[in-house]
Amino acid sequence: EPEVTQTPSHQVTQMGQEVILRCVPISNHLYFYWYRQILGQKVEFLVSFYNNEISEKSEIFDDQFSVERPDGSNFTLKIRSTKLEDSAMYFCASSLTHEAFFGQGTRLTVV
């Protein structure tokens, strides 16, 4: 069964460093998303991406964040200068219609 793949599963980074979280969505999907879950809290929408551009973003998705689909298969989330409060689980998802398929997540720890 097709699945969304995220790498790495866990990343530790120093405050102020740049990180790139990587995702391989399901191959025929058209819509791509990033969500964040701070430990013990709800899953929050960050950004959606369609037709090679951002279709919607939340207030969380400020200038420190960017997304890219550099080729036909990868979808990346970049955090330019990480802060302690960026520590969270980041989920990538993709969809063809209504149903989003989620990856297993990348746990980002900023120290």
């Binding site: 058209l30 819509y31 998303y33 969500y35 809290q41 709800k42 899953v43 929050e44 929408f45 959606s48 369609y50 279709s55 919607e56 989920f91 998802a93 969809s95 219609t97 209504h98 149903e99 989003a100 398929f101 989620f102 990856g103 297993q104 997540g105």
Partner: protein, 113 residues
């Protein structure tokens, strides 16, 4: 704007007992509704979904949910809970395809033996 409310933060049930997790939504039309389960440290697994048609939908692991338009609810049920069902459950809503999934705050289910 659409929203999802899960009124219960924690629920504890005995193994073998029945379960109902509540979900209410706010949206002007009929949305697409989902339930996901998250085990500790894991990703989000889809349990079931409602798009249209029969308002009682069956999912994996013996779960079902009923869409009630008049109450703006989509409650999740299971007749007999197993210890392995202990997890966090998220209700979600999509207003139309390609749009973001909006999640409720989640309900943590504890199962006591």
């Amino acid at each position: 704007a659409q929203s999802v409310t899960q009124p219960d933060i924690h629920i504890t049930v005995s193994e073998g007992a029945s379960l109902e997790l509540r979900c209410n939504y706010s949206y002007g039309a009929t949305p697409y509704l989902f339930w996901y389960v998250q085990s500790p440290g894991q990703g989000l697994q889809l349990l079931l979904k409602y798009f249209s048609g029969d308002t009682l939908v069956q999912g994996i692991k013996g779960f079902e949910a009923e869409f009630k338009r008049s109450q703006s609810s989509f409650n999740l049920r299971k007749p007999s809970v197993h210890w392995s069902d202990a997890a966090e459950y998220f209700c979600g809503l999509v207003k139309e395809y390609g749009n973001k999934l909006v999640f409720g705050a989640g309900t943590i289910l504890r199962v006591k033996s």
